[in-house]
């Protein structure tokens, strides 16, 4: 006698504040979970990049070497390296343990908005205000990028890298997906400047947020619109959007100091909770658990499910 599959537990969105960390590095431009979600990186406007244990609020390491604000960062798959980019037009590859700069990639003509490792951390891909996406080789010592994708007509605000694709969102209102395996560039017109793009965990969908205060879920293969999510406010700033850990929800920052979550399928607003009075600049969803990091002004908040216990460390 076959038992029916247990009904999947309804995903609970993180809404309980577990911890607030004052990063003491000026405005936090971006907060990013590492690959396994145990640590996080914060990019400060005081030129520093910091590695935290967000659960305990402990600063693990501070990486200094940027000449201007740090705008984005990413950790490698093995947690041994970090990459970051900033207004100083450079992309820096860091050694996690020693805090030393391994490589500094110069070549962008404007500030670098976003940076990602590829899966094996052999390439760093960075998108800049100079409307180019550059692929930097971490294995060799050559100073120039492997390839420059300058198809964007305006600054590149956000990018994501999957196993075989590079997804970029540009201010020219397009989401471009460079498929290496197929050897094609798919350009989807969104019209409004794209501030953030994201791949779903299953790799079938793309999420884009744009300055018309709308999140759009787009089918990766056809470019069809699968869902539209509105309700938040995003008309000025480059705000992040994300999928939840199980792709059940999509979330976005908002300029009204709240974080919004929508049900992915229904498109209905599932959750909105206030973080503060400022603009929620950045957020990062835990890769496996229902945990959320948000950055507002100089603080980073960790959010968890209601059942999660607030960890206290002094």
């Amino acid at each position: 006698m076959a038992f029916p599959q247990p009904k999947p537990e309804k995903a609970e969105m993180p809404s309980k504040l577990l911890r607030t960390v004052d990063c003491k590095q000026g405005a936090v431009r971006a907060v990013r979970f590492n690959v396994d979600g145990n640590y996080c990186l914060t990019c400060g406007s005081d030129k520093s990049l910091k590695l935290w244990n967000p659960y305990r609020g402990i600063l693990l390491k501070s990486y200094t070497g940027h000449g201007y604000e740090v705008l984005d960062a990413d950790g490698s798959f093995d947690n041994s390296q970090l990459c970051s980019c900033g207004s100083d037009k450079t992309v820096i590859l860091w050694d996690v343990a020693s805090g030393q700069v391994i490589r500094k990639f110069r070549g962008h003509a404007g500030k670098v908005n976003c940076v990602r490792f590829n899966e094996e951390a052999s390439v760093i891909i960075s998108g800049s205000i100079d409307s180019s996406v550059r692929c930097w080789d971490t294995r060799s010592r050559r100073p120039e990028p492997i390839q420059i994708m300058d198809e964007a007509k305006d600054g590149v605000s956000s990018l994501q890298v999957s196993e075989q694709e590079i997804l970029t969102g540009s201010v020219d209102g397009r989401v471009r997906r460079y498929d290496l395996r197929v050897g094609q560039l798919f350009s989807d017109f969104i019209d409004s400047p794209v501030t953030s793009v994201s791949f779903s965990k299953d790799g079938q969908c793309m999420l884009s947020s744009s300055l018309d205060s709308t999140l759009r879920l787009i089918d990766k293969d056809t470019g069809e619109l699968l869902g539209e999510y509105t309700g938040h406010k995003n008309s000025k700033y480059k705000l992040d959007c994300c999928f939840s850990d199980k792709d059940t929800h999509v979330g976005s920052c908002s300029e009204d100091g709240k974080v919004y979550f929508w049900d992915l399928v229904e498109g209905s607003l599932a959750l909105a909770f206030s973080i503060g009075s400022g603009v929620v600049q950045s957020l990062s969803f835990h890769p496996r658990e229902s945990k959320l990091l948000t950055a507002m002004e100089g603080n980073v908040q960790l959010w968890g499910k209601q059942s999660d216990e607030e960890e206290t460390v002094d």
Partner: protein
């Protein structure tokens, strides 16, 4: 003294050593390695030890490498297996070695089998001599014998000696025998004749009658059908005379002398080595009996010899010609003179004698001579004949389009056909094309197709004028009056300022100057404009031509310049290449896409797919096979396009119409900076800031054009509702209609404002900046002085500030995290980063002498008040610098993209730099766009440069 006397006593040998003077530094002895010996060619010679037979080594003395005999390397890897090399001695020898050591150069030669014998003559002679000189003379005869018997020879060493040339072999195969002549077999009589001819007679010979008689007797018993082989021919001896002997003298042939007098010497045409031996042996039938044996003076007469006639036999002296004087006439044969009479029997022969040397056998002299070929003189050309063909008189003078000319030609052809039905020489390319029904070439056949109808009409008029001129074959001056008047009429009503807009004769400055003079006079309405402006020093012909050109240019350029001049400017640079690489732009149909987005019809409508070639290394790093393994392209595939093609830029033009609003508003703020009452919401808004206006995809070019138009109209016409461009309307006071735009030109003031040196503006803006600075300074000081007032500012008193600076910008959320200086100098791009609410800790990170509170508050204040203007100034300056660089480096890159992105940049820069500098930014924009028009001497379209970077700065 004793010393000199002593010296005299000594006997010295050798060269004395040089006396050492103490001043000179000691000469270093030449080191051993520099003591060299050189050979006759100046090469350094090396000694190679005991025997010199080895090959020399090293450069010059070398095997081709510096090291000389360097050990060869042996490299063998998995990829490249080493090949086994087999060296020959020759590999280590240079040409010199090969020459020295007698190794013959490798070259293509005829093999011995086919080689002629002449080359071997020397050798064979030497051989013969050696035979004679041998201890036993004729010792080699044995060898010869043996070899001859088996001449195909196993004796390789001797083979060449006995070989028979291929020619002889062939002859033998054909039945030739040695001793015979070559040719068809002949009858007896002929042969005899030949005999006579070929016979060499010395001294007295039998009278010919007798010989004839005997032959006749022979004939008696020789049957008719028997033929004989022709006698062998004595080859003419061409050996040059190189001795002092008398003519014809040859020393006694040792071979013959030895054997004894050869009664009848016979030189064979194809004398073979073996033949000589047969001669020696005397075995051949035709020669007299000879015996093997040793004979000669030294040995006396042998036992075997029958006669001893030749004991002291030299070549018999009887054979020498001992008689001086003419031979008897009857003798008829050879003397020292040419044979003048052969036989009196044949009368014909006498006739032939003159040709004796020339007529070949089998040919006879013709009896009647050929008639002399008559040569006709070419016809005389008529006096007025011109060797150049003119297609049609109309074509030569009037500038009709190709199409028209072809039409003309076809119409002419009807007429011509009657006269010149078959004359293909009368046809030109157009006719031929029509004949073979080839389609006309695609595309505009001439620049005239690009002209407006109006212009075409005018050209037509000019053409007609010229045609008229041709028809009436009157004085050139009166023809000109027709066209000149027309030009006068055309120019008179233009009281314009646009003299130098188009410079048709720019290449020749003087001519251009004259032309301008002419134009100015035309404008004054002077009828003698043309004559007065021409250079009187020129020849009549030159003047005539220039007259024509000026009139035509005046007709052409006047009408067009109002329409064209507003759009184009002269090119500043020469274009270095004809083509540009352009990424095929499929992303241009934005209107459709916008519509699709609005209708939420994402998918096919909004998606573009391009072939994109990832870098090979990128694929490798991603662990992905290269999708295009064979291609060398990286990135998008590009299309080569004609640089001057207007179509390259058409997509730029397309979606440019409706976007004037922003720059308009900028302008208006610029012009009326005092009036804060004008709604200026858009002033600070960049693309990032104004999502609602996103669909305003602007293009700098069109923006400018429309802007310029509207500007001029606003000045000229006053306000008028615009029907064609509804998008512009809302904020515009005046709006132009397209037709008006064509006709009316913006006033010069506008152009001055745009193109003229910007120093005024700059200074004014700088003044503004100074004011601002002062203001800020005051603020600052007041702030520092009065910290209590800061509390107010700290509160979210946005409204207040907004009011104060409403004409500048919308108040933005403040950022206090950075130091104010950072903020001030910072370049801001792209989407704004959200602000951070000031918090106390910030100041901790910045070391400063101010008390914390003051500093913080000051910062806030700054953020709210000062930085706005400050940023603008600094950023503006910075941008200027920035742009210079860009212009240098990027000017030729990505034209289209430049254009499109420049729209954004304009937008933002206009808004960014704020009210005071918006004019400047417009100006820069204009500078950054060069049009060069090139049509019929006019430069055409080139958008040299545009802002490449995305919108600069939105944040403060």
């Amino acid at each position: 003294m004793a010393a000199p006397t002593e010296q005299l006593d000594y006997v010295s040998f050798g060269t004395p050593l040089e006396l050492l003077s103490e001043d000179e530094p000691l000469k270093r002895p030449v080191p051993l390695q520099e003591q060299t010996v050189k050979d006759d060619r100046g090469r350094i010679k090396r000694f190679h030890g005991a025997f010199t037979g080895g090959f020399s080594a090293g450069y010059f003395n070398t095997v081709g490498s510096k090291e000389g005999w360097a050990p060869s390397q042996f490299i063998s890897s998995r990829q490249q297996k080493a090949e086994k090399q087999v060296f020959q001695p020759e590999d280590f020898m240079d040409e010199e070695d090969l020459a020295e050591h007698g190794i013959a150069p490798r070259e293509i030669m005829t093999t011995d089998d086919f080689a002629s014998l002449t080359k071997n003559q020397i050798r064979s002679k030497a051989q013969a001599l050696s035979v004679l000189a041998a201890p036993i003379p004729g010792a080699t005869v044995l060898e010869d014998l043996i070899a001859a018997s088996s001449y195909c020879g196993k004796w390789d060493g001797k083979k060449d000696k006995f070989r028979i040339s291929i020619g002889v072999k062939l002859l033998r195969k054909m039945g030739w025998k040695e001793g015979q002549g070559i040719g068809p077999r002949v009858k007896r009589k002929l042969q005899r004749q030949r005999n006579g001819a070929g016979l060499r007679l010395y001294g007295c010979s039998l009278p010919p009658e007798e010989s004839d008689k005997s032959e006749e007797e022979d004939d008696a018993y020789i049957p008719e059908n028997v033929t004989f082989a022709p006698k062998d021919v004595t080859p003419i001896d061409f050996t040059p005379k190189d001795n002092l002997h008398g003519l014809g003298y040859s020393g006694i042939d040792p071979g013959k002398a030895l054997i004894g007098g050869v009664l009848e010497e016979h030189i064979h045409l194809f004398s073979v080595e073996s033949e000589r031996t047969s001669n020696l042996l005397g075995s051949e039938g035709y020669s007299t009996t000879r015996k093997i044996g040793v004979s000669g003076q030294a040995f006396g007469v042998g036992v075997l010899e029958e006669e001893d006639d030749d004991i002291y036999g030299t070549e018999s002296l009887s054979r020498y010609d001992t008689v001086i004087g003419e031979e008897e006439p009857g003798d008829c044969m050879y003397g020292w003179s040419a044979p003048y009479e052969y036989s009196k029997k044949n009368a014909e022969f006498i006739k032939d004698i003159a040709y004796a040397g020339k007529i070949l056998e089998g040919f006879t002299k013709p009896s009647k001579s050929l008639s002399i070929k008559k040569i006709y003189l070419p016809p005389e050309l008529p006096r007025d004949y011109k060797p150049v063909h003119y297609c049609h008189p109309v074509m030569s003078t009037s500038n009709t389009s190709y199409q028209k000319s072809s039409d003309l030609m076809t119409s002419c052809r009807q007429m011509e056909r009657a006269a010149l039905q078959n004359s293909r020489h009368q046809m030109n390319a157009v006719l031929r094309r029509n004949l073979i029904e080839e389609p006309t070439l695609p595309g505009p056949s001439s620049v005239f197709d690009l002209l407006s109808n109006e212009a075409k009409k005018r050209i037509k008029e000019v053409k007609q004028a010229v045609e008229q001129k041709q028809l009436s074959q009157s004085l050139p001056s009166c023809i000109q009056t027709v066209s000149t008047d027309e030009a006068l009429r055309a120019w008179q009503n233009i009281c314009g300022n646009e003299i130098g807009t188009f410079k048709p004769f720019e290449k020749i400055p003087e001519k251009q100057a004259r032309y301008e003079k002419y134009i100015s006079k035309l404008k004054q309405g002077r009828s003698d404009a043309l004559e007065a402006s021409l250079d009187s020093q020129m020849t009549e012909w030159e003047r005539g031509r220039e007259r024509e050109e000026f009139v035509r240019a005046a007709m052409l350029y006047k009408p067009s310049n109002s329409t064209l001049a507003s759009r184009f400017t002269q090119g500043k640079h020469e274009d270095d290449s004809e083509n540009v690489y352009v990424v095929p732009d499929h992303e241009d149909d934005l209107n459709d896409k916008e519509a699709a987005v609005k209708m939420k019809m994402f998918g096919q409508l909004t998606r573009d797919a391009f072939e994109w070639h990832p870098d090979k290394l990128l694929c490798k790093r991603f662990n992905i096979p290269d999708p295009y393994p064979s291609s060398s392209i990286v990135g998008l595939t590009k299309v080569k396009k004609d640089k001057y093609s207007v179509f390259n830029f058409l997509n730029v033009m397309e979606n440019t119409k409706p976007h004037l609003k922003q720059s308009q508003s900028d302008l208006s703020t610029n012009q009326k900076p005092d009036k804060a009452s004008i709604p200026l919401k858009s002033n600070r808004q960049s693309r990032w800031d104004v999502p609602g206006k996103e669909n305003d995809k602007k293009d700098s070019l069109s923006e400018f054009i429309t802007f310029a138009r509207s500007q001029s109209l606003s000045e000229r016409q006053g306000s008028q509702p615009d029907s064609s461009e509804p998008a512009i309307i809302p904020k515009e006071q005046t709006a132009p209609t397209l037709d008006d735009l064509e006709e009316k030109r913006p006033s010069m003031d506008l152009f001055k404002a745009i193109f003229a040196n910007s120093s005024d503006d700059e200074s004014s803006s700088e003044g503004d900046g100074d004011d601002e600075d002062n203001q800020q300074g005051q603020n600052k000081s007041s702030l520092i002085k009065d910290p209590t007032s800061l509390i107010e500012c700290q509160e979210p008193s946005k409204n207040k500030t907004k009011e104060t600076f409403s004409n500048q910008e919308e108040c933005q959320p403040t950022k206090s995290s950075d130091t104010s200086e950072n903020l001030a100098t910072q370049e801001e791009f792209g989407p704004r980063l959200p602000p951070v609410v000031p918090y106390g800790t910030v100041s901790l990170s910045s070391g400063s002498v101010f008390p914390e509170t003051i500093k913080r508050k000051y910062k806030e204040k700054q953020n709210k008040h000062k930085p706005k203007m400050d940023h603008k100034q600094k950023r503006y300056k910075k941008k200027k610098k920035h742009r210079k660089h860009k212009h240098k480096s990027k000017s030729k890159k990505k034209i289209i993209e430049g254009c499109t992105s420049s729209s954004d940049s304009t937008e933002s820069s206009g808004s960014d730099t704020g009210a005071s500098s918006s004019v400047l930014s417009t100006e820069e924009l204009l500078k950054s766009i060069h049009f060069t028009i090139f049509t019929y001497g006019i430069r055409f379209i080139k958008i040299a440069c545009a802002e490449l970077w995305p919108p600069a700065g939105s944040i403060t």
